[in-house]
Symmetry: none
Subunit: 258 residues, 2 copies
Amino acid sequence: MQELKSTVQKTFAIIEHFTSERPEWGVTELAQEMGANKSTVYRFMADLSKLGVLYKHPITEKYSLGLKLFELGGRVNLKSAFIDKTHPELVEVSKSITETVHLAVLKNNQVFYVDKVESPQGLKLSSQIGSYNPAYATALGKVLLAYLPNGNKEQVLDFIFSKRNITSLTNNTITSSKNIKKELSKVKAQGYAIDKEELELGLICVAVPIFNLNNEVVASLSASGPANRFEESKVSNYVATLKKGAHAIQQKIGYFKP
Amino acid sequence: MQELKSTVQKTFAIIEHFTSERPEWGVTELAQEMGANKSTVYRFMADLSKLGVLYKHPITEKYSLGLKLFELGGRVNLKSAFIDKTHPELVEVSKSITETVHLAVLKNNQVFYVDKVESPQGLKLSSQIGSYNPAYATALGKVLLAYLPNGNKEQVLDFIFSKRNITSLTNNTITSSKNIKKELSKVKAQGYAIDKEELELGLICVAVPIFNLNNEVVASLSASGPANRFEESKVSNYVATLKKGAHAIQQKIGYFKP
DNA sequence: TAGAGCTGTTTCATATAATAAAACAGCGTT
DNA sequence: AACGCTGTTTTATTATATGAAACAGCTCTA
């Protein structure tokens, strides 16, 4: 934990450990997990409990996320102009395509999921609003990379493809710098990207760019679903629907820059 | 701000200033509001923005609450966060009224059932902890909507009442935006809501608000039962009992205010 | 066009709060 | 009764937060 400089960062490093997979932590085990001192973590958790950010179960004495975060989260949801403006369009696209639809931006050189509408066909994807995925293994990421401004494109791509950042997620993942550059040219030429089980086996994804008023790509819109539902013949229809949605979103968010 | 000892408390003191009434702050004005140093507040806000807890508008440079809080809010397990503190009170109220008692919050613009105590008279309601019902057709929902902060009230109501979201569940369901607004004014004026077979034929429900320390409504408490047991004369007694219960719950979920 | 008056941001010596080892306390189990 | 596991408190030490001042960038306005 000593590598985190500010207390604000430490605070949220602790909070972030409470995930849906691991919603409960004791003081000692969380300190161990974080490689931090027990009494330090204790003080943070005690403070956060006093504020209602964490909730301490009166019997088990385990901590979990508290009502304060629910309340604050609710304030964001209702106020956020971004999601308020894009969500209805995502709903439209999802209805039309009947698959899960994502809106993502590039953040820290990764795909950052901003909004999501689940498929009415009820296939659960592991993606979550606010989470990240590698850019090189997703259709969303390919679009965001393909349209990077020429000024720093090479730089960003070289950084992403420095060996330590790349892991092969499936047999189809593109792991070489040369091949991804070829792929990105193709994406830019055809105006959309496709991910054929490169992130996860059985999962296919199609994505299109969302432009701002300066013709820069600020976000990407995608449809994802099981491979058996994404026949070649359907893709062009999906792309057309996604582009219509992307266009509608562009009209609404002329100002947004991530 | 110097009276706040720990940095964790300072962090959330800053975050708490972003309310629905005042969702945007600049560095200088927030520092003034808090009686704190400008550069101190700046560092906090810069750190929080890096984490996505705050969002800095690229043009106005004003800060607002960010996606990270939205994400964290979604992770909170309401059942475990509420139920330990509220359940005993629900039992009390249910004993006194001898009808089924519910505790609910507004989530995704719908009524979300957090806790429930069944009537000792053994009428089974279809409601379940963790399930949803439309806000406009329940007493719980009317309370939660009536006390929405003025900042985004209109927006939320308009969203809920865009035609495709409304279905008439019984002959009594209020389905027009105009009528629900009238109804909500009434609810706020009298301090409680009543649902006369608007969700389900034969089912009547009375609900009161639960406030937090900022006088914002965070939840709603209700009693429900068959229409023939809810005579006009009893309702005022039910409301009184519910309010007593709501008050007791408020005492328990009132957190330390930074 | 010069300058006043706002912003947000950076710097740096100083003060203060965060840290971590150790001891403590409470609870079950052996 | 002694062990091993919790969460909690204490303490001297160290590292971090602080805030005054200066800077930078912008929009008015005279």
